[in-house]
């Protein structure tokens, strides 16, 4: 299966190759790992991979596979069919909410042309503002939300018209924030 961490684009090809009792062989991008698995009373698992032996919790949610390996917390998303566009059967790019929060401002209107780096919208979550910027030139086809609205993680905020030089949009923090 292909996994990515929610929040960045790096993809990992992870496969379980074999399992014999408490020993699981797996590969990450073709490199083999041997994992020893021991269940603990609290429902976690002692997982021994390489020089790491960590209490590991794991669970599936609708959007992700959550893993806590010792103090480190990870949310992974399966790559195929998990992007907003693919989910809706569209090829047009969208801007989706990178986190749940409140739409503070929409800085563009339907029909607007935007260029790379243009601010598109401002979200607020936990009292901190995050600005969404256009990654490339595009035309705003539809605003799916209005200012003041609460949105889920992954909710489509702005949909762009398909243009030949397919633009995409990505979030980043305001430079001075």
């Amino acid at each position: 299966m292909k996994l990515k961490r929610i929040g960045d684009a790096r993809e990992f090809n992870v496969e379980i190759l074999a399992r014999e009792g408490a020993v699981v062989r797996a590969s990450i991008d073709g490199v083999e790992f041997t994992a020893e698995v021991a269940p603990l009373a609290d429902g976690s698992t002692m997982l021994h991979v390489g020089d790491r032996r960590l209490r590991t919790f794991g669970s599936r949610t609708r959007n992700a596979i959550l893993v806590a390996a010792g103090p480190a917390s990870f949310d992974f998303a399966p790559v195929e069919g998990r992007t907003g566009a693919a989910r809706h059967g569209l090829t047009a790019p969208e801007v989706t909410a990178p986190m749940p929060g409140k739409v503070l401002k929409l800085l563009v209107a339907e029909g607007d042309s935007v260029k790379a780096g243009d601010a598109l919208a401002v979200l607020e979550a936990m009292k901190m503002e995050t600005t969404l910027y256009a990654e490339s030139a595009a035309t705003v086809k539809k605003l799916h939300v209005s200012a003041g609205q609460m949105v889920d993680h992954g909710a489509v905020i702005i949909e762009f018209s398909p243009v030949p030089a397919a633009p995409s949009a990505n979030e980043s923090k305001a430079p001075d924030a």
């Binding site: 379980i16 797996a26 269940p39 991979v49 480190a72 990870f74 009292k127 305001a174």
Partner: protein, 507 residues
Amino acid sequence: MNSRTIRKLLIANRGEIALRIIRSARVLGISTVAVYSEADAGAAHVAAADDARLIGPAEPAASYLNIDALIGAAQSAGADAIHPGYGFLSERPEFARAVEAHDMVFVGPPADVMAALGDKVSARRIAVAAEVPVVPGIDTGELAAARKFAAQAGFPILVKAAAGGGGRGMRVVADAPGLEAALEAASREAQAAFGDGRVFLEKYLARPRHIEIQILGDHHGKVVALGERECSIQRRHQKIIEESPAPGLSAAMRDRMVEAALKLARAAGYRNAGTAEFLVDGDNFYFLEINARLQVEHPVTELRFGCDLVADQLHIAAGDHVADPPSPRGSAIECRINAEDAAHDFRPAVGRVLKLNLPAGPGVRIDTHLGLGAEVSPYYDSLIAKLICFGADREQARARTVVALGEFSLLGITNTAAFLRDIVASTPFAQADLSTRFLEENFARWTNDEADLNLALVAAAMVSEGIIGGTGLTGESAAANGARHESGGGARSPWAELAGFELWGKR
């Protein structure tokens, strides 16, 4: 002021600090009243108090910032005192006034003193009058004045909210073109966070340390200091690691800062617990502000002095004389564990606690409202736990912190525990090479260790295959999570579905 007995205390707050205040009040034999928004009906502080009152919907403005609702809850519960905690209404003079107007004790400074000192602009003026050094700056965020000051002082410039705290409504401006936008954003953020959009400007010091002095003042004119706290490890002006004593701070420098803090407190007629914050630059220190409330990081002082600052606050509020502080011992370090994805630009995280392993052991204290099923919603602060470790010396406190953070494990809410562990375990931290730029200089591009990532990827694949975490070897099944979701009671936030646990089919 007369001595007033406190019999029943309403805690106008939520989360770890509400829980912590409830505990100290109960130890003093004071009955406690928790308040909660609809999002917090099942929260830990509600369970810990003797009584609990719903004060409104999840939005802070409608609940934890709703003065009428809080006063009403206090009256209906028969409370005779209110503790504001930190954040929310803790530094709003109008709240303190409303509490006193309704014949209840406000556990904090007098409203007028709070107004004068809590406002950073006014506090600067008091400091200047008391001949305590302040950072060069101007008292206004007006654009023309700001441009003029920036031209004189040179960039970078710091925009700060007059009513602010905790980095909200604060912006570092690198150059002239960014000034206007920064003033506007800071003002908007300040308005949203504090209901007061005023901002002012200060020269941005290149590599200062942030060191603060804890003070306690009683109704009888006595003010004492309980040492310092080093709070230089900050991200975007939000403290994330604090400690006491400040490593390498000379006794002479500490004494000068304590003297300045006491001078300020006396000049302002300060009462109850407060903190004088300073920037330290070489042998110079500059007054920054007085936080007219309990600080998030107060436990490091408690562990060193063996005291209970909330108990002290309650004693002072009841009219008791403040005692001379006990002698400090050892060293203490606090780490703030936040619901943020440190590997991805500290994006705020929400969710529900599915699994939790909290650290413990000698010298380990953890202040948290987390428990199984606890929900972190986007409505409130991202602070989910404070780990405070005591040691006979800094090295023992530091090593205990590393071990304790290694024990912390939380499934369901992405958090900063691994990031904090890496900081505290690092050579620059061990060597105490501290400044407010510590994180920029040392941890600007932190991500998880590759070995941890690989282990987690294997774990994720095993979760997907049902080997662990689901219906496999480990105890609690995905079905059980589903059941919890279905049957989870209490007020449902709009995020409940998001935080729920649907199975998606095996791939």
